[in-house]
């Protein structure tokens, strides 16, 4: 596992320089009388890491579900690489957007490798006839799938767990396996729903490192997190969602110093996250 700590944001994919990959415009999601997400706009560029923060129930996961086609927004639209996203989750995946879940949803009784191989489903095409007749295409594709899955396991640092059952993996490894599975779908945009929930500081550090490396492959990453130290260190841009609306959007520095954010989300009294010199890149 590489142990890179913080990574500068001025790489070749610095914020705003790449093309727009994901654009959500005026997304409104209502369940009956309840408005869970209200007129949210979000633009994500190639090679950018965007953070989504907000108190519990602010509508972050609901917004994710709108992005990935799990919910159909009441109004507004979501464009992925210029195209409106298709109405079904699996088609959204095929169009190039993959996600992980807040509560880990791995296929527990499959091995780590098989889990990642499932992720390649939408990028492979062996049909019934090819499978039953076991033609050359089947063997080629199976071999490629296997190699790609192994490569991704290595990428997230789980190369040694190939043949282990997902349900037997430690918690942190399960989180990383979910990321590997999402990457197997070959996404342009990766949505991570609380990727460090329940992790210890060391695992959190590894998670940041992993997200930087995903960013460095040219993908865009959108992260929901509650861990402020993690998110301000990681993201190029942060959106703070409160009661379904974007309260503040801006650089981590802008967002973390905004009094409204402190009031709405972090509350008062506990200043740990803000006084830690390790976290801050510049003056708050």
């Amino acid at each position: 596992m590489s142990t890179a700590t913080r990574r500068p944001r001025d790489t070749e994919f610095a914020s705003g320089k790449g093309e727009v990959l994901l654009q959500a415009s005026d997304v409104l999601m209502q369940f009956g009388g309840l408005t869970a997400v209200k007129d949210v706009n979000m633009t994500v560029h190639e090679g950018e890491i965007v953070g989504l923060i907000g108190p519990n129930g602010a509508g972050k996961t609901t917004f994710f579900n709108c992005l990935t086609g799990l919910y159909k927004p009441t109004s507004g639209e979501v464009r992925l690489a210029g195209e409106q996203i298709p109405p079904k989750p699996r088609k959204v995946v095929k169009a190039g957007m993959a996600r992980t879940f807040q509560n880990i949803r791995l296929f527990g009784n499959m091995t780590a490798l098989e889990n990642v191989m499932v992720g390649t489903y939408c990028r492979t095409t062996s049909g019934v006839l090819t499978t039953v007749l076991r033609g050359p295409k089947f063997h080629r594709e199976e071999k490629e799938t296997r190699a790609k899955a192994q490569e991704l396991l290595d990428f997230v640092g789980l190369g040694h767990t190939t043949e282990l059952l997902a349900r037997n993996l430690p918690y942190g490894d399960q989180r990383r396996l979910e990321v590997a599975r999402a990457l197997a779908t070959d996404p342009k945009v990766v949505l991570l729903d609380e990727p460090t929930a329940g992790m210890n500081p060391q695992e959190t550090q590894q998670a940041s490192d992993l997200i930087f490396r995903i960013r460095d492959t040219g993908r865009a990453v959108v992260v929901i997190e509650h861990d402020m130290r993690f998110i301000f260190n990681l993201c190029d841009r942060v959106l703070c969602l409160v009661r379904g609306e974007v309260l503040v959007e801006g650089s981590p520095e802008q967002v973390q110093s905004d009094p409204r954010v402190i009031e709405a989300y972090i509350g008062t009294g506990d200043d740990d996250d803000f006084d830690d010199d390790d976290v801050q890149e510049g003056p708050a």
């Binding site: 995946v93 499932v118 062996s126 499978t131 043949e163 282990l164």
Partner: protein, 562 residues
């Protein structure tokens, strides 16, 4: 299958002596007469000339002696063999076997008084063996998965196991009264449990994976050789044909239930569709369609009709969650039964002749090979039913190939992912609906194919062959045997079809017995008799220990295959 745990302080030396002594008694007893009456259970009345059932007792005795010799475990090459557990299984099985036989003799000849000394001696021998085996000390065995013999030796052992299986099945079928069949079943069960407790099957499972082509080919050859054990008679072959049709349908259902995890309660209707298409397009006098293409065309049409029906039923319902599908398929089964019962010309078009069905369907004729006549193969005679049996075995082999190839592929992984977590699978880009409809229509296709053969193999096609009860038996075969495994379903189908045929006295109670068996299975072994590892894990979500064991086996297997 579980031998009760009895806590007695072990006395290995006494146990060994008792086990050996009991085994000797058993062998001696087998050489004596067990009954005055020569008509009971074959002929057990002649001293010095053991009948087949007595020969089994001798074999049990000899195995008992071998176990006794192995008790001190000096043979390092057999350190994986669990002598104590297997000896207990042997002793208890032998006791059951002898008690069954003695009970039968006593029952048929009118009292315990009519048991000859041999029968008593055998009982004593078996009891002594049981006592001895429970005095043996528990042993620590080495991991059977890591046993790796010479290649030729492994192949020989696998072949011998298959041959023994063939012999055992032929022997069980030879019995013509309930008592003999039950006794033969007890003997077969004893040897099976003996090998299971000893750890042989654990080894066999990985060894079979190492020599996959050998075991596949071997099993096919054994299945094809079976008619030769019947001396050209049709009595058992007609049962075997029934079982083979039932097995083909169960294997098709296994794709739907075992792989895709869809509950289909009306599956027999797809078999019926194939059978009716086969019958209506046959050259029978009562066939209702004027066009009589060659059988291969009919078979394809029957299978396609079934698949189309599957598509029609599946496409609206497969979008919903599990229970709805069960209800709709249940209804579909009933609709099929009612429809074929009524398409008799008065209530609707005359397609099926209603309750009378389509009778007098001629035998198949494929490429000039007439399935209705007997053929000679050297000195062996292949009878009418044997022809169908062989064809059905080949169809079953085809279905098994399709099953296992689909299972070990991208499609199979998709099915597992759906069973594990449907929403997560969809969020990972798996085409849930497509995969479900593939399993559903594919299963229907295979059942339809088997149905077209059934139309010719059975004298007539009538609606009452395709009732809900048959669907539930098919499902029971899959669930009892083990969802998602080929061997398990083959076992389940065979047991479910064979027992009522051979043990006529349970005929009236078979629903009760299978119902009870299902309830007990669901409570104690929900993954079925022969479980697929994955299914076992799914049914025991909380069992960390099992997960570790399975994982270890999997890693070992990967290493062995590498």
């Amino acid at each position: 299958m579980n031998i009760p745990k009895i806590t007695i302080s072990p006395r290995p030396n006494v146990g060994k002596a008792l086990l050996a002594g009991g085994a000797v008694l058993l062998i001696v007893a087998a050489l004596l007469a067990w009954s005055y009456d020569s008509t009971i259970l074959g002929d057990l009345s002649i001293s010095g000339n053991p009948a087949p059932l007595q020969e089994f007792a001798i074999v049990m005795g000899v195995v008992g002696l071998i176990e006794a010799a192995l008790v001190h475990r000096r043979l390092t090459s057999l350190s994986w063999w669990d002598t104590t557990s297997s000896a207990r299984a042997l002793a208890v099985g032998t006791l059951v076997y002898i008690v069954l036989i003695d009970y039968n003799i006593a029952y048929q000849s009118g009292g315990v008084i009519n048991l000859d000394p041999g029968a008593w001696l055998a009982l004593v021998g078996a009891l002594v063996m049981v006592a001895g085996s429970f005095l043996l000390a528990p042993v620590k065995v080495t991991n059977q998965l890591k046993v790796h013999g010479a290649n030729w030796l492994e192949i020989v052992v696998i072949t011998a196991t298959l041959a023994a299986l063939l012999f055992m099945v032929a022997f069980i079928l030879r019995g013509d009264d309930g008592g003999s069949v039950l006794a033969a079943l007890a003997a077969g069960g004893t040897f099976g449990v003996l090998l299971f407790r000893g750890g042989f099957f654990t080894w066999l499972s990985v060894a079979a994976a190492r020599h996959r082509p050998v075991i596949m080919l071997g099993a096919l050859v054994v299945a094809l050789l079976f008619p030769l054990t019947q001396n050209g008679t049709d009595a058992n072959m007609s049962i075997a044909v029934d079982i083979a049709i039932f097995l083909c349908a169960a294997l098709g259902l296994n794709i739907v239930v075992g792989l895709a995890g869809l509950l289909d309660l009306g599956y027999i209707a797809f078999l019926g569709t194939g059978a009716y298409v086969g019958a209506m397009m046959s050259s029978a006098a009562s066939a209702t369609i004027g066009w009589h293409p060659p059988f291969l065309v009919v078979a394809l049409l029957g299978a396609l009709t079934s698949a189309v029906l599957g598509l029609i039923i599946g496409s609206p319902t497969l979008r919903l969650s599990g229970d709805y599908l069960a209800i709709v398929t249940l209804a579909f089964g009933e609709i099929f039964h009612t429809a074929v019962n009524n398409m008799d010309g008065t209530n609707g078009p005359d397609l099926t002749h209603g309750p009378n069905g389509i009778a007098g369907i001629p035998d198949l004729n494929l490429f000039g090979f007439n399935f209705g006549s007997t053929h000679n193969l050297g000195s062996f005679t292949i009878s009418n039913y044997s022809n169908y049996y062989i064809l059905l075995v080949l169809v079953a082999a085809l279905i098994i190939t399709i099953f296992s190839r689909l299972n070990n592929s991208r499609i199979g992984r998709g099915w597992i992912a759906i069973r594990e977590d449907e929403r997560a699978a969809e969020a990972m880009g798996v085409n849930i609906f497509g995969l479900k409809i593939l399993a559903f229509a594919g299963g229907a296709f295979l059942a339809g194919l088997a149905g077209t053969i059934q139309a010719h193999a059975t004298p007539s096609v009538v609606p009452d062959n395709y009732t809900f009860q048959e669907s539930s038996f098919l499902l029971a075969a899959v669930v009892l045997g083990g969802m998602g495994t080929v061997v398990g379903v083959a076992l389940g189908a065979t047991v479910l079809k064979l027992l009522p045929e051979k043990l006529r006295f349970i005929e009236d109670y078979r629903l009760l017995i299978f119902g009870l068996a299902l309830v007990l299975m669901m409570r104690f072994r929900p993954e079925g008799l022969i479980a697929s590892r994955r299914r076992q894990l799914e049914f025991h979500d909380e069992d960390e220990n099992l997960a570790d064991i399975v994982q270890e086996e999997h890693v070992d297997e990967q290493k062995a295959n590498a």
